[in-house]
């Protein structure tokens, strides 16, 4: 079959069973858009800014485990998309980004809307390609989908010059692909698995520390089974929330900079640590030397060897795909006779329960001013703990992570690695496209929401009944908190002045707006939004305490047991 490059792009996307392409047209991709117009197998979602196209595709993937696809034009289309691509890259999200490029013979001439897309995006993609011959187009797109979702996932960009989209060649979509330079399917080393289990069975104070890898590889079930069989405490990173049910009694909460007292203490004092799809980020281990000062054995399971022994030395490295490794651990555990040391484990749990007794997440809700934590707790109740919750970046993000108890994977959607303000609303859109019946809440701040506020228009066009929970503290709250704690309480540029009337703003876009100023109104307002306005986008502007801080907190570079607690102040 002889097809043009533009037709080939469409065919490939159809072959990959793509449902949605999030994008924005422009000169270099006009032939491709023309082919979009002529087909109805997949839908195109026209966003209002390319950054949002990538974020939406990213959340589509995070909430479904399918590859997110986006399309942008050359030059400014690409540069606008870069923040989205870097965000996905830091959190290992599989995306295929197709970008237009100036015609082949214009490349390098400072042509209109030319930029070095492959060069600009190289450091923030898993891989990228520039297609120089229409004959390479189908195989390149096949490779892009394969690379994006295999091994440690990540975004892959395919840059297509405009002339290539008009050139013609014979089309055949490869069924499978092998690349001599890329072999992501590693079988874990059985000897290492055996060694790991041995250590786990000998442990007196064991700890399971699990992260985004559990979510990315859909290994939740295997994790829960193994944890239950062993009876070990479990903590999740910010990216791992929902990978282990938050309401399970073995769960000790999130760890790290804003983790619970019990999670951080248990992490610090454990004698055998099993890291499962978690990468010892500096927001978790702020001070590797301090962490290393307590003797313990570390088992680290990850599909990416470079995640292992990067910041923290490891005793038993296991490279492999989590569901397989956890399955093998489980099988090995089941077939042998020994059990974990019950007496030691009981003493360990007693210690952990004592730490739990600190109740490090407690706060006081008075009658006058709405506490942000209270809004999240009520959101949890009103949605029955079963909503998809996206968030932006800041204090509100941490409160959402701490107070919404995620029991299922892929329900908590946020930017952890890059920490990108502005993801919340486009993330909620992507989630809703992947889960058309789902309840979707976007927890945000008055500053973050304004970074992609234009997407209220996209949400209107596609009738996305997102509930925006704006925790409006009139501050770049997270910045203000650091200034209060570490910069003599000088609020340099962290007060947000001249805020819009968010209710009117929502209404201007054709949505419902609500202003909530008193604690007594929080729950009724949420109920109204999630029932009466079930099918509307509701912008809920909660006027919250300006001085609230996120606790516990470990200052950057400090050890895990060096926590600042609310009660200390």
């Amino acid at each position: 079959m002889q097809l043009t490059g533009a037709e080939i792009v469409v065919k490939c996307l159809q072959e990959e069973n793509v449902e949605y392409v999030f994008g924005y047209p422009g000169g270099s991709v006009l032939y491709i858009y023309d082919e979009f117009f002529k087909q109805d197998k997949f839908k195109h979602v026209l966003v209002r800014h390319e950054q949002a196209a990538v974020h939406a595709a990213d959340a589509y993937s995070r909430s479904s485990n399918k590859v997110g696809v986006c399309m942008v034009t050359s030059g400014p289309g690409v540069t606008n998309a870069v923040t989205g691509i870097a965000t996905a890259h830091m959190d290992s999200i599989p995306l295929v980004i197709i970008s237009g490029q100036v015609p082949t013979h214009y490349i390098g001439q400072d042509a209109f809307q030319e930029c070095d897309t492959v060069g600009i995006t190289r450091p923030c993609v898993k891989h990228n390609f520039l297609v120089k011959d229409v004959k390479d187009l189908a195989i390149t797109l096949k490779k892009a989908f394969y690379i994006a979702q295999s091994g440690r996932p990540g975004p892959v960009l395919v840059d297509i010059p405009k002339d290539i989209t008009t050139h013609v060649c014979e089309f055949e979509y490869p069924k499978a692909i092998t690349m001599r330079s890329y072999a992501p399917n590693v079988k874990c080393h059985s000897g290492q698995v055996r060694k790991a289990l041995q250590l786990m069975l000998e442990a007196k104070r064991p700890m399971l520390y699990t992260g985004g890898g559990v979510i990315l590889s859909d290994a939740s079930r295997q994790l829960v089974n193994l944890a239950h069989a062993l009876g070990f405490p479990v903590t999740n990173t910010l990216m791992g929330l929902g990978g282990y049910p938050a309401t399970d009694k073995q769960f000790v909460g999130m760890l790290g900079m804003h983790g619970t007292y019990e999670a951080n203490m248990a992490m610090h004092h454990c004698d055998v640590l099993v890291a499962i799809g978690a990468r010892f980020d500096d927001r978790v281990i702020g001070n590797p030397a301090d962490f290393g000062s307590v003797p313990r054995k570390i088992i680290h399971i990850d599909i990416d060897p470079s995640s292992i022994a990067k910041r923290v030395d490891v005793d038993v490295p296991i490279v492999g795909h989590l569901p397989e490794v956890l399955g093998e651990l489980q099988a090995l555990f089941d077939e042998q006779k020994s059990k974990p040391d019950a007496k030691a484990l009981a003493a360990w749990w007693k210690q952990i329960d004592a730490w739990r007794g600190k109740n490090s997440l407690k706060y006081k809700q008075g009658k006058e001013i709405i506490m942000p934590q209270y809004v999240i707790e009520k959101l949890y109740e009103v949605t029955g703990g079963d909503a998809f919750v996206t968030s932006d970046v800041g204090q509100h993000q941490m409160w959402a992570a701490q107070y919404y108890k995620f029991d299922k994977p892929r329900r908590w959607i946020n930017s952890g690695g890059l920490g990108t303000m502005g993801v919340g609303l486009p993330y909620a859109m992507g989630v809703r496209f992947a889960n058309p019946e789902a309840t979707v809440a976007c927890v945000t701040g008055e500053a973050s929401i304004q970074m992609n506020i234009q997407e209220l228009s996209t949400a209107k066009q596609f009738r996305l009944p997102i509930k925006i929970i704006n925790l409006n503290n009139r501050y770049l709250g997270m910045v203000r908190q650091w200034q209060q704690m570490f910069h003599g309480d000088r609020h340099a540029e962290s007060y947000v002045n001249a805020l819009p009337d968010f209710v009117k703003l929502a209404e201007a876009y054709g949505h419902v707006g609500m202003l909530i100023e008193r604690p007594a109104d929080v729950e009724p307002a949420l109920r109204e939004a999630f029932t009466k306005h079930k099918n509307d986008l509701v912008f809920m502007d909660f006027i919250t305490d300006q001085t609230a801080n996120v606790y516990p907190m470990i200052a950057a570079g400090k050890g895990l047991s060096d926590m600042i607690l609310a009660e200390d102040l």
Partner: protein
């Protein structure tokens, strides 16, 4: 410690910048980098000389392996290997310096590949320390220009880097 890392990678446009970009993005040190196509023109062979603690070198090899265009990576310094670098040195050679310069070049098994009334170009091959030693020995004020290729390396005996 100093390490010589050998990389076999796809001979694709941009593959070199993926490697050099990785080193600068992750603040890894590069002493030298050489690259050229192999007998199989679809593959390039690169030699990088770097230095760092064991854990840094471990990260370097892991990160290199992670690059999609990279087929194989070995740290040559882990076992017996040969390293060679080529240097061209242009020196002032007049009067009694002419004879002296030729004598030192001979001792280092260098060859004079260009001669004018007042200068020589000397070609020298060897490991880094030999080339350094040559530059140490000759009169510095006579050196007009030097150019070095950077190190190429290969394993001894049965150690073969091939696909």
């Amino acid at each position: 410690m100093r390490h010589i890392i050998s990389i076999l990678l796809e001979n694709e446009a941009g593959a070199l910048s993926r490697v050099s970009g990785l080193f600068s993005a992750r603040a890894f040190n590069i002493e030298s980098l050489t690259v050229a196509a192999t007998e199989d023109p679809s593959l390039s062979r690169m030699t990088i000389v770097s230095s760092g603690s064991d854990s840094v070198i471990e990260q370097i090899t892991k990160q290199l392996n992670k690059l999609i265009d990279v087929v194989k990576v070995v740290d040559l310094s882990e076992a017996p290997h040969i390293e060679r670098e080529l240097m061209l040195v242009k020196v002032r050679a007049t009067g009694k310096d002419r004879e002296e310069m030729k004598r030192i070049a001979d001792i280092f098994r260098g060859r004079i590949v260009d001669v004018t009334e007042s200068s020589y170009v000397i070609e020298l091959t060897g490991d880094c320390s030999k080339l350094d030693a040559f530059l140490e020995v000759i009169d510095h004020s006579l050196v007009l220009e030097t150019v070095r290729t950077g190190v190429s390396g290969i394993g001894r005996g049965d150690r073969i880097l091939k696909i």
